[in-house]
């Protein structure tokens, strides 16, 4: 008995189990809801349906009706409505659910169909697995274990096609491995709006290639590598670096803009090898810009700060913190926070500002957005600073007020958390007038001018949260251990707060969150461990009037655009 469907839900029967799914869902997605895997190559949930790989074959049938009376036909054997099974398998990706649709995903006909498709796909597939970077995450390998025959009946010569073709600066193509699924072609056309890929020639001569005179060089080219079900498209940067089965996956958030693209850090024994996107249908779907993927190189950069310094000479963290405490206690302090710091760090910095009576500043970092996954605000966490109260107004690119204050002698000590004050408009002459405490990861003009350097951790080395442009709070975790000599930002900031004599805050993310929840109204109901991996939307009402710089991107519309749309309708 099929239960009455809810509005805009369709009830279908998959392998004997009834399930209600939203209208327009295809059979692959419906089966996924029942944890039934329908193998597929060309289908991708975020791309149009091509239906060319023929791997997602299913058996389907519809309830029988009498053609004359339109009355349901009952099967006398079961007493239920008879199902008219289609005698040939159908593709699951191109089959949209209809009321009462019956599907078999593992019948013998389906299994035969899949085995047939696998045999055809493997006919011309080279025996490259030992040298192929896709090995271990290759759909063809996976399905070959389930539906391959284990030996080949093909005695003719395999196709020869171009190997090691550079499609662009970041993507290498091996045409022999290509199974012509066209995911990359559809991605370039539909998502990246850079229609440079296509197939040329026919039959077994079909070859994926770039448009003559063009290159696959848009900032989303590496997504084609991610969605390639085989090893045809591989990342030139990751080429032959490490086999994927050795790599540990850690969830993180892209730090290049306020979009907050969900990503995964792939590391082995403290070395990061690559970054790939993580699916979040509310933020980035399954995509990630190329520019965000190379940011892991900052971790092992040669200009990393790894020595605590006091007036230019190496010292211990305790001595440096002691000297910093003396500067902070002397008063006339100004604090420059960072839109790249986590919510937790900004919270502690706010506490430090309160304890020293300092004003919190932030440096804006803007560039034009690409309307997809890079926004105009290149700081990942400006909204975190608003939420924690470190700043009350949107930041400017230059610290003009701070320059004036220093010039007038109102400020004696500047604490910079990872921001290059020189780049933010403070001249060397101005910096020479004040004592600079630099808490940061990489050497720059400010660290060169700083009296005290406290080396801290890169985003991939610590845990925390960012608040993205949608006011969605998203978690990231420590993927690799810190380099020797660098200390967690939270530890440094907590010790600085403690040294002012007010109180001693916790210096670990989980332990700090109860204090954050108690002090920050927007975060009152949550704890670090309770934030889901896809993030949590915060109430943005207090900041809705601020003139945020972001334009429209994927899954984000600025408040002004929403208001304009509402006014039109």
């Amino acid at each position: 008995m099929i239960a009455a469907p809810k509005p805009d839900l369709v009830t279908v029967n998959i392998d004997g189990v009834d399930i209600s799914v939203p209208k327009g869902t295809n059979v692959i997605e419906a089966a996924k809801l029942l944890q039934k895997d329908v193998p597929h190559y060309c289908y991708h949930p975020k791309l149009s349906v091509a239906g060319n790989c023929r791997m997602c074959m299913i058996e389907m049938g519809t309830p029988a009706f009498d053609p004359a009376t339109k009355a349901p036909v009952t099967d006398p054997a079961t007493g239920k409505q008879k199902i008219n099974w289609i005698p040939r398998p159908q593709i699951g990706c191109g089959t949209t659910v209809s009321p009462g649709l019956h599907v078999k995903t593992s019948s013998s006909m389906v299994k035969d169909a899949r085995e047939g498709v696998m045999e055809f796909l493997l006919i011309n597939h080279p025996l490259d697995c030992p040298i192929c970077d896709q090995a271990g995450e290759c759909k063809l390998q996976e399905q070959a274990t389930g539906y391959g025959r284990g030996y080949s009946r093909f005695i003719e010569e395999k196709n020869v096609k171009p190997k090691r073709t550079q499609l662009g600066p970041r993507v290498t193509l091996d045409d022999e491995r290509c199974i012509l699924c066209s995911r990359c072609v559809r991605f370039s056309k539909e998502i990246a709006n850079d229609d440079v890929l296509g197939f040329v020639d026919r039959g077994s001569y079909s070859t994926l290639t770039c448009h003559p005179g063009k290159k696959l060089e848009n900032n989303y080219s590496l997504n084609t590598v991610d969605i390639c079900p085989v090893g045809a498209l591989t990342s030139t940067d990751f080429r032959f670096k490490m086999r994927v089965w050795f790599l540990k996956q850690t969830n993180t958030v892209d730090i290049e803009s306020s979009v907050g693209v969900n990503a995964v850090v792939w590391s082995r024994e403290g070395t990061i090898y690559r970054l790939t996107p993580r699916r979040n249908d509310e933020v980035n779907d399954t995509w990630m810009p190329d520019s965000g993927r190379i940011l892991y190189k900052q971790v092992a950069a040669t200009d990393r700060l790894t020595a605590v310094k006091l007036n230019g000479s190496d010292t211990s963290l305790d001595i440096a913190l002691h000297a910093a405490a003396a500067l902070l206690k002397a008063g006339s302090v100004s604090i420059v926070g960072s839109g790249r710091a986590s919510v937790e760090e900004q919270f502690l910095l706010k506490q430090l500002a309160t304890a020293t009576g300092a004003q919190g500043h932030l440096v804006a970092r803007t560039a034009s957005g690409d309307k997809l996954l890079i926004s105009a605000d290149r700081n990942p966490n400006v909204r975190g600073a608003l939420v924690t109260g470190l700043i009350s107004q949107l930041p400017c690119a230059e610290l003009k007020q701070l320059s004036r204050d220093i010039d007038e002698g109102k400020i004696k000590t500047v604490v910079s958390h990872g921001e290059d004050l020189h780049a933010a408009g403070l001249t060397a002459a101005l910096l020479a007038k004040v004592a600079v405490i630099y808490i940061g990861t990489h050497a720059n003009a400010t660290s060169a001018a700083a009296n005290i350097i406290l080396p801290t951790l890169h985003t991939f080395e610590k845990a925390g949260t960012f608040v993205n442009q949608q006011f969605r709070i998203q978690k990231f975790y420590a993927a690799v251990p810190a380099p020797q000599g660098a200390t967690n930002d939270l530890v440094v900031l907590a010790k600085l707060v403690a040294s002012t004599g007010t109180h001693t805050p916790a210096s670990e993310v989980h332990a700090l969150w109860p204090a954050i929840a108690a002090a920050v109204p927007a975060l009152a109901t949550m704890l670090y461990k309770n934030i889901p991996d896809t993030g949590l939307l915060l109430d943005a009402t207090p900041w809705v009037g601020l003139p945020f710089v972001e334009g429209e991107t994927l899954h984000y519309k600025p408040a002004a655009a929403i208001a304009a749309e509402a006014a039109r309708s």
């Binding site: 025996l127 697995c129 030992p130 040298i131 190997k163 077994s204």
Partner: protein, 182 residues
């Protein structure tokens, strides 16, 4: 615990003379003096190695002198004591074996960790790693006991190849470029 007293049997007359035991013992001694010796004068003399012996793991070249390892790292993955450490590398386009694309940049087997299980040989898809006849590894330092890539190829030498997989691949590509099967 209870103590059980066992009565010792008195020795017979012959036993008390020790003569039968001395005769039996000397018989064995004289027999051994005549028989050929079993002792090997190791290390000058070495035992014959049976077929299928699992000695020190080595890397081998094919008869055309190509290094067979393509650094797929399956042996590193399967190795139970984690004795193998490979750094993969690319073969440059101007080298003779450029069509193989990949080879190990570094390949180290820590013989202090190796348990001679032979799983690396079993898992190798390129038939590049073999546990051959060498069984004796000595060194004065731990570092000496780590076989690097050069040492592994020196130990392994060249073994016959049944497939010539990559040579076939290259000749197919060459035939295609001269208008053969595409």
């Amino acid at each position: 615990m209870a103590t059980i007293t066992v009565e010792r049997k008195p020795l017979s007359f012959l036993e008390r003379t020790y003569i039968p035991n001395i005769v039996a013992g000397l018989t064995t001694t004289f027999k051994r003096m005549i028989k050929p010796t079993e002792t090997l004068q190791y290390p000058e003399q070495r035992p014959a190695i049976p077929l299928g012996y699992r000695g020190v793991p080595t890397l081998v070249n094919d008869p055309h002198g190509r290094e067979k390892c393509v650094s797929c790292q399956l042996c590193e993955f399967v190795c139970p004591p984690k004795a193998i450490r490979i750094t993969p590398g690319e073969i440059a386009d101007d080298e003779p074996n450029a069509h193989v694309e990949k080879r190990p940049k570094a390949f180290e087997i820590d013989m202090l960790r190796c348990i001679y299980c032979g799983l690396c040989q079993e898992v190798c898809p390129e038939e590049a790693i073999f546990l051959q006849n060498q069984y004796s590894m000595t060194g004065f330092t731990r570092a000496e006991m780590v076989n690097d890539k050069d040492r592994l190829y020196e130990l392994g030498g060249t073994l016959p190849d049944q497939h010539y997989k990559w040579d076939k691949k290259k000749s197919a590509a060459e035939a295609a470029s001269h208008g053969g099967h595409h």
